[in-house]
């Protein structure tokens, strides 16, 4: 393998990527010192671009790296990602057009603006904003792991020594460049580069799914070579049914609670385009399903296995590509996976910055002018990227997917305040606040219990697996949400008995 050629193609395409990112600031020119222009690309995206943008939230390192890794190591339970993407857009079809309409009617830039209005509570709004910001951090960290996995293979194959430190320096450089163009172009940069990223990824997924099975003798051979994995190989081990169902349903409910997904929704130009692009998003999931299957394909791929053993299961997909394709294509595909982490990281940091400025800082600052607001958000987007980068140098989870699932537990507890509040203004803010607290604490308790008592801190796990209890093998996020909803329901009944009139600003 000519590793210099791999690197040359990778670097050339990266330069093109950066150029596009900066050029985007001039695309459909708007006043980028306005927060709506910077963070929502002027709210003018049509069906195609909205499809790419929200698709970019889905086709991330979660898809290229974390799911194939988990399937390769643990087996069938991690195919839950397929029902998840099938269901999540159904959830979005129901909830998002309504949220979009409310956002235009009352001039909301974030979902938290709606929370503040619905409950007439700045404190609750602030709690929900901070929850969104916190939940994005492990998700961004996952993106960085994905990028690192690609660099590990590429640089590890290129140089004999110091591969680890070269990888770290490369990551930091990539992040500085990303921060610069996010700062300059905002969501426009992410949209334009998302199109480039997705074209590369589509080509890569199709090439791998055609070439590798032919080279190794089909999926039949891969499944035959697969060892008996803990959660099932050719189908799901019955013990993991609870886990599979709760992980898929909870992930489906969680995606559109994440600020970055809602950001994508708000940037579309009207509800009709929003509906069409959302309806077609499960097609994106077909790519995710194929990528998940690469975790199985690896077992039949004799040339890729030594690489996976050398660089770790995190590199399942990069190793497969490296082992079966010519150098130029490896460079092309690696760049796709690399920016497949960068672009979502950019979108996520923009949405965090948006929330922090608008819903946490603005309420405290009198007469914050729009220019200062936008400038603040730009600096915060830089800050959040580097917090996430620090995060990964500090924490090394055994399985990268668990990072996203921790984010899921946190964000799920905002479901009553966002999704339920879309349809009713009768909920008590005290009940919703208390439900949030009970949800977070019960999930946290189970998380600590599962990690420090059951696995003794050897890995992060988000599935609660104590035997002989009815809650066994459920995703802890599901348990947290259950207690959360219970408190919201009971609390609202009590609160309404005491104060029959709901004190809310909007009455739809």
């Amino acid at each position: 393998m000519n590793n210099v050629e791999v690197l040359a193609v990778f670097v050339s395409l990266f330069v093109l990527f950066v150029g596009l990112g900066f050029w985007a600031s001039r695309w459909r020119k708007g006043d980028l010192s306005d927060l709506g222009e910077w963070a929502l690309a002027g709210r003018r995206l049509g069906s195609y671009l909205a499809w790419f943008l929200v698709g970019a939230d889905l086709y991330t390192a979660y898809t290229f790296i974390a799911i194939p890794e988990s399937l390769y190591v643990k087996g069938a339970v991690y195919f839950f990602a397929v029902p998840y993407v099938g269901m999540t857009f159904g959830v979005a079809m129901i909830t998002m057009p309504r949220l979009w309409k409310m956002s235009r009617k009352y001039n909301y830039v974030t979902a938290v603006d709606m929370v503040k209005d619905r409950f007439n509570s700045r404190t609750l709004a602030m709690i929900i904003a901070l929850t969104g910001i916190a939940a994005e951090l492990p998700y961004i960290a996952l993106q960085i792991y994905g990028m690192e996995a690609v660099l590990n293979v590429m640089i590890g194959q290129l140089v004999a020594s110091n591969a680890a430190s070269i990888t770290e320096v490369s990551l930091i450089i990539a992040f500085i460049i990303l921060a610069a163009f996010t700062f300059t172009s905002g969501l426009r940069g992410a949209v334009i580069t998302a199109v480039m990223k997705d074209i590369i990824i589509f080509v890569t997924v199709i090439a791998v799914i055609v070439v590798v099975p032919m080279a190794i003798g089909g999926f039949g051979h891969a499944f035959a070579s697969m060892p008996k994995l803990p959660t099932g190989s050719d189908s799901l081990a019955p013990l993991f049914l609870n886990g599979f169902i709760s992980l898929s349903i909870m992930s489906a409910l969680a995606l559109y609670l994440y600020p970055h997904a809602i950001n994508g929704v708000f940037s579309t130009s009207n509800t009709k385009k929003l509906r069409i692009s959302t309806a077609l998003l499960p097609l994106y999931g077909v790519g995710l399903a194929l990528l998940a299957l690469f975790g199985v394909l690896a077992y039949g791929a004799a040339n890729a296995l030594p690489l996976i053993h050398k660089y770790g299961a995190l590199t399942t997909v990069p190793s497969l590509i490296y082992a079966y394709f010519p150098p130029w294509f490896v460079g092309f595909a690696f760049l796709g996976i690399f920016i497949g982490g960068l672009v979502p990281a950019s979108i996520m940091a923009i949405s965090q910055a948006n929330l922090l400025t608008r819903n946490v800082i603005k309420p405290f600052v009198k007469n914050l002018n729009p220019k200062t607001e936008a400038r603040m958000a730009k600096y915060f987007s830089v800050m959040f990227k580097f917090i996430a980068l620090l995060f990964i140098f500090a924490i090394r989870p055994l399985y990268s997917l668990q990072l996203q699932l921790v984010g899921g537990i946190i964000i799920l507890q905002t479901l009553p305040s966002v999704f339920l509040a879309l349809y009713t203004n009768k909920l008590s803010k005290w009940a919703v606040g208390l439900g949030w607290l009970v949800g977070q604490l019960s999930a946290l308790y189970l998380l600590v219990d599962a990690n420090f008592i059951v696995t003794k801190g050897t890995s992060i796990t988000t599935v609660f697996f104590k035997f002989n209890t009815p809650l066994s093998f459920f995703y802890t996020g599901a348990v947290g949400l259950f207690f959360n909803l219970l408190v919201v329901a009971v609390g609202t009944v009590i609160a309404r008995a005491v104060h029959p009139q709901p004190a809310v600003a909007t009455s739809d």
């Binding site: 709210r43 959830v91 309409k101 009617k105 189908s235 799901l236 898929s248 077609l280 399903a289």
Partner: protein, 82 residues
């Protein structure tokens, strides 16, 4: 975007009861099918070497997209020309 636009946005879903039922069915079927995992947790029949568990879910992504698209088109029609 002007003030006039924002004031004119209605949050109510228009359309007949029949249309609403069709939309509900199109949106709910994929959610229900995916939720009932025992329905597709089998090895046979295989398709191109893939166990049923894997290919059934993948095919249902396409079926879901078609159903969601049907619901989206109907909802857009119900919403009218605005």
């Amino acid at each position: 975007m002007t003030e006039g636009d924002s004031a004119g946005i209605s949050l109510e879903t228009k359309g007949t009861a029949g249309q609403k039922i069709i939309v509900a069915i199109l949106l709910l079927i994929p959610l229900i099918v995916f939720s009932i995992t025992p329905l597709y947790n089998h090895v046979k029949p295989e398709l191109m070497g893939l166990p049923f568990f894997y290919w059934f879910e993948t095919v249902w992504l396409v079926v879901s997209a078609i159903m969601f698209l049907g619901a989206a088109l109907l909802l857009n029609k119900m919403e009218g020309s605005k």
